[in-house]
Amino acid sequence: MVATNSDRLITMSVQGNIVSPGYPGIPAVPHQIDHDGRPRLLPSLGGIVYNVRLGDSVYGWAGDNIEPGIAIKAPDGAANQALNVFACVGNEAVAMSGNAKGAKGVVTGKSGRFAEHVIISFPHAALEQMAIGDKIIVRARGVAMSIQGFPGVHLKSFGPQLFDAMRIEENDAKLTVPVKAIVPPELVGAGAGLGSEGGAICIQSMDHNALSKFGLDSLRLGDIVAISDLDSAWGHGYRKGGVSIGVVSSTDSIKAGYGPGVTLLMTAPAGEIDPMVVDRMNLEDLLGIRWEGDE
């Protein structure tokens, strides 16, 4: 059993509202340019998403970086920063207003620059009742969590609920972490150089051959992945031998440099993490997110 300081962590409420999707106004050219230069008009970040769920493929949707379930944001910049940093994957969320008041959900990820959102999974019945603007509270717990005996391993956005479910083991002074796949450093895209306490980092998907070569063409929302040669201790950047672990939290993108969004959970710049590829490693199983009445 890997020991943490989770009994000393603070549980604190952070809050946001369900975000509306947004598009630029006049002159009415709302398209995104895809990696081959084609303008495409597609649903993108924000909103309440009814038909893209945890466990679904990240590929093949007629959408761009779709956030499954709901995305929330606080109206004030500093409060949203707190929400985006303190909310951790696996933390409980509660609807505090609207017709779904009292419904409980689970934080499944975050988005980064241009959409500092927290992504939350709720049962389908709750999604049906929710309205844009509804108040959602997250019982934030996990920031400042550390692993005893591993001072060089940094944990980020990692709820203790999820940590305990991840079957992380200590072997020969290293942490063995089961993952669905390993992302090579050349596929690290948007998010590089940005902060790692919140936000997301994209797995670049423009080169389909590279995706299939590394077994990244069958990723699902909620899959746990490793990224090799990545140091995410103080922002994300290349470091040979570094290992980072994250969870796939938004769908693929049409834009060069973008692709499925990964919320960072842990990083070992000096390589004290040994990723072990397994058949299935998804939040659905790890957090028992199979909502009653859902498919």
């Binding site: 590089a192 940005l194 950047g237 290349y238």
Partner: protein
């Protein structure tokens, strides 16, 4: 001579003012998690110019010589998109009014080189005007290669050879593998730059990327920046170093796109004798190191 559409380009004035440095929280974490004070962007920098070393400054993202921008959002973005490297600039107000400079890059600000005696006369807030020429520049016989942010003068100084079959070749100062490209992946390729990640110093040295100069012309392997910036095996992007190194993880000297191809139609070789650098190509900045 590579054929271009330069006779069709529009020459248009854009303007801004010499922009002051702004300090946020003085302490920010560097790549090792230590708190450091950041300075380097904005203002007038007297001792770092194009041709000077990109590394070793006790500063972050050093913008060589003059940094300018426009107070209004629309004109500011016109400055970003229209100003091209090699375009002439002129001081409109202040002690240095009438002095002429040259655009050397686009970062958080538009970067303009002036001679040292001019730099000493420039005040924050002085108005600068640029004769923008270069947006829309195309290589007529190479439709697969995108051209951006270059004045025709810079384009013609790149020593491009035509190889036939839609291929070209040019000298570069160094070659960057795809996995070293960091911050800026989230931005469009027509906007500012993408940083070479410098926090892994050992790898940087092994790749021969630890001795770059501001203004160096470089090749980026397997990067297609035709539309946004991303990994594509076989693609090539040619860029130039617009600013100095950074303390931050995932940052480093900025690489501004000037040519890109989604396939391997741009060939390159490292020229150590005649260093491909803006200082030599445009006859500006510090010419002693290049």
């Amino acid at each position: 001579m590579v054929r271009t559409n330069k006779e069709q380009l529009i020459e248009m004035a854009v303007c801004g003012e010499v922009w002051p440095a702004a300090a946020r929280s003085p302490y920010r974490p560097n790549a090792q998690g230590e708190s450091v004070v950041f300075m380097g962007t904005a203002g007038v920098i007297l001792n770092a110019r194009v041709g000077d070393r990109a590394y070793g400054w006790a500063a972050d993202h050093v913008e060589p010589a003059v940094s300018m921008r426009n107070r209004e959002d629309g004109p500011e973005h016109a400055l970003h998109y229209l100003a091209c490297i090699g375009n002439p600039a002129v001081m409109v107000t202040g002690e240095a009014a009438g002095a002429r400079g040259v655009v050397t890059g686009e970062h958080a600000h538009i970067l303009v080189d002036f001679e040292p005696e001019v730099l000493e006369q420039i005040s924050i807030g002085d108005k600068v005007q640029i004769r923008a020429l270069g947006m829309g520049l195309e290589m007529l016989d190479y439709p697969d290669i995108s051209v951006r942010k270059m004045s025709p003068q810079l384009f013609e100084s790149l020593r491009i050879e035509e190889l036939g079959n839609g291929r070209i070749r040019l000298p570069v100062a160094a070659v960057i593998p795809a996995y070293m490209m960091g911050s800026g992946a989230e931005l469009g390729a027509d906007y500012v730059d993408q940083d070479l990640m410098s926090n892994d110093r050992e790898t940087l040295a092994q790749l021969g990327l630890d001795d770059l100069r501001i203004g160096d012309i470089l090749a980026v392997q397997d990067h297609d920046h035709t539309f946004n910036r991303g990994y594509r095996e076989g693609a090539v992007t040619i860029g130039l170093i617009n600013h100095g190194d950074s303390y931050m993880t995932g940052h480093g000297p900025g690489v501004m796109d000037i040519l890109s191809c989604s396939t391997n139609k741009i060939e390159y070789y490292v020229d150590t004798e005649n260093r491909p650098n803006l200082a030599a190509y445009l006859g500006i900045g510090n010419k002693t190191l290049v």
